[in-house]
Amino acid sequence: MPRPFALRAVAQFLPDNEVAVADLPFTDQEWETCRQLGVERVRADDTLSAVDLAVNAANQALAQAGLDAQDLDALIVVDSRAPQTLLSSEATHVQALLGARRAVTFGVGGQGCVSLAPALRAARAFLADEETAEHVLVVHGSKPATPNRYRHPVTVNGDGGQAVVIGRTGPLRVLDMVQFSNGEYWDLFAVEFRDRPVGEWREECADQQRYSFKLAMETRNRLRELYRDLLARNGMAHGEVHCHLGQNLSEASLRFTAESLDVEMAKACADNLRRYGHLGPNDMLLNLTAAIGGGELGPGQRAVLVGASPVAAWSLLLVENGDSGATEHYL
């Protein structure tokens, strides 16, 4: 059986500046699709980089956990979609800005908005490998690669940072996670950038029929298989999950996940979608925090967090809220 680990603190940094989706620059065809996504506004601050967003969230998470950056044994940075510079390291940039001098620091990514899962896996592995290690910080600054913030016909991207302190004890237990990826879709969505100025960067889908049918239906089948496996290896039945959380791409994507798994998605997802748009790998824990705050996931209850990325990757996390997490060591 996989070994559980704990989320000690989860913090979000959302810039104050809001932009109404209706005010973003769309073509008529894009707007026709966009207005049906269920996103009303996004946070957007062009003065803040992905690293700035991550560091702001990291400082909040450390404060929530009662830690100093020098207490960190490891720092795992989920790669941003478009780094400010090539060749340099965003991960060690975050390390320097935080002052996390002792932390073993590295980046994780390659799975689009599912990249939280490999980051959590790396955190768990680090704690399992290093007997004296206690604190791992996973951070991500979500900032779209393109200035118009739009991925046709999928979603509108906002700005936001997230940081999670991971340890052997804590109020939220990650009991298990399952993943799958299919490399055939590696470039279904892409931003060409080498031959054009930033103002012309666009998130382009190479084949919309392939996205809307083939990848969609593979997603249904993969999620069903992963969900069945996740429940089976944790001795759970279909009705024993109290709360299902997805990613904030669109209302249609939430319906798609619900119908694919024959479950109901927590209200927190549509609420966050409407208020913040898509925040990449940060969606799932943003929704988890909101679901707990809104009473949709009570003490001792379990949630499944569903992730799907068109790269293509899928992940499911089984999380338990509360119980004896304050004293029990899991790793």
């Binding site: 016909p153 029929q209 809307s212 239906m217 798609f256």
Partner: protein, 77 residues
């Protein structure tokens, strides 16, 4: 069971348009992920088959005639 007639009725109802037997409803822009889910779920339930990842060739699904052939192939297997 008239597979073609049942698919025609379902697709015409779902799209609000009369779909010809060789008309490519993907090319007409009628397909989004929720429509795809509805279509595949209908085919699975109505004809008692399972659409696996290996079956997800767009050419099996893009016209009524091709989908009819696919259903007959799967149900004969």
């Amino acid at each position: 069971m008239d597979v073609r007639a049942e698919l025609t009725e379902f697709l015409s109802g779902a799209t609000g348009d009369r779909i010809g037997p060789d008309e490519d409803y993907f090319a007409k822009g009628l397909v989004n992920s929720l429509f795809a889910l509805e279509l595949v779920t209908f085919v699975e339930r109505r004809f008692g088959l399972a659409v696996e990842v290996e079956d997800l060739d767009l050419d099996h699904f893009r016209t009524i005639n091709r989908l009819t052939d696919f259903v007959r192939m799967k149900t004969a297997a």
